[in-house]
């Protein structure tokens, strides 16, 4: 096992050990990726993941660095640009 693989394992243990939280973040991102052109709000996203709005924002930002709303806006901008 080389140094890089050891580091990946170590960092995974520190940052990515909570699989329930990761599922919430990943599922929310996938929903936005697919349905970005429909009406999406925080109530809906939280409802889909059976969690609170505040928990969802916190978890999403922890793993993707931006809030779900910022992610949605970025997604729409990128998609719009590609259409031109």
């Amino acid at each position: 096992m080389n140094h890089y693989i050891q580091e990946v394992e170590r960092i995974k243990g520190i940052c990515f050990s909570n699989e329930i939280q990761i599922d919430v973040a990943v599922n929310t991102k996938r929903y936005i990726d697919t349905d970005f052109d429909k009406e999406i709000n925080l109530d809906l996203l939280a409802h889909l993941q059976l969690t609170s709005k505040y928990h969802l924002i916190r978890v999403f930002k922890k793993y993707y660095g931006v809030t779900p709303r910022q992610y949605l806006i970025n997604k729409r901008i990128v998609k719009r640009r590609k259409n031109f």
Partner: protein
């Protein structure tokens, strides 16, 4: 400012071009002869041919510290850079059939899946799939 070109150090530019085009599937963009057999040699993603170019530059052959740095990164298994793919497992299957060697098989790391392969030009390269 725009990010137009990023570079990967290679020991043999022709070998690198063959690997990056024939095996990885990039497209050659510029191939401009420079002095002493060196070339300004860039490739782009076939899905984004106006996007950032990857410069296959022979720095390790002409600047000893670049060679030392590249060698040490390679020995440690650390990727020089990474490329995004839709599905790491599928790309891993495709590349291993073509003889590409992986030091890290597809691995789930939280919000991404990664794998690391040897580009045969002195570098480890990481594949990344966003989940």
């Amino acid at each position: 400012m725009k990010i137009k070109v990023v570079s990967v150090p290679v020991r043999d530019q022709q070998k690198a071009l063959d690997f990056y085009v024939d095996i990885l599937g990039f497209v050659k963009k510029y191939d401009i002869p420079l002095s002493e057999g060196n070339r300004w040699l860039t490739v782009v993603s076939k899905y984004d041919q106006d996007g950032p170019e990857l410069l296959l530059e022979p720095a390790p052959n002409h600047f000893e510290p670049a060679k030392v740095f590249q060698d040490e990164l390679f020995k440690s298994g650390i990727p020089w850079t990474g490329f995004y793919v839709d599905n790491v497992q599928e790309e891993y299957d495709r590349l291993t059939k073509l003889g590409v060697e992986f030091s890290l098989e597809p691995k789930d790391v939280g919000t991404v899946v990664i794998a690391v392969f040897n580009d045969t030009c002195g570098n480890n390269i990481q594949l990344v799939e966003e989940k």
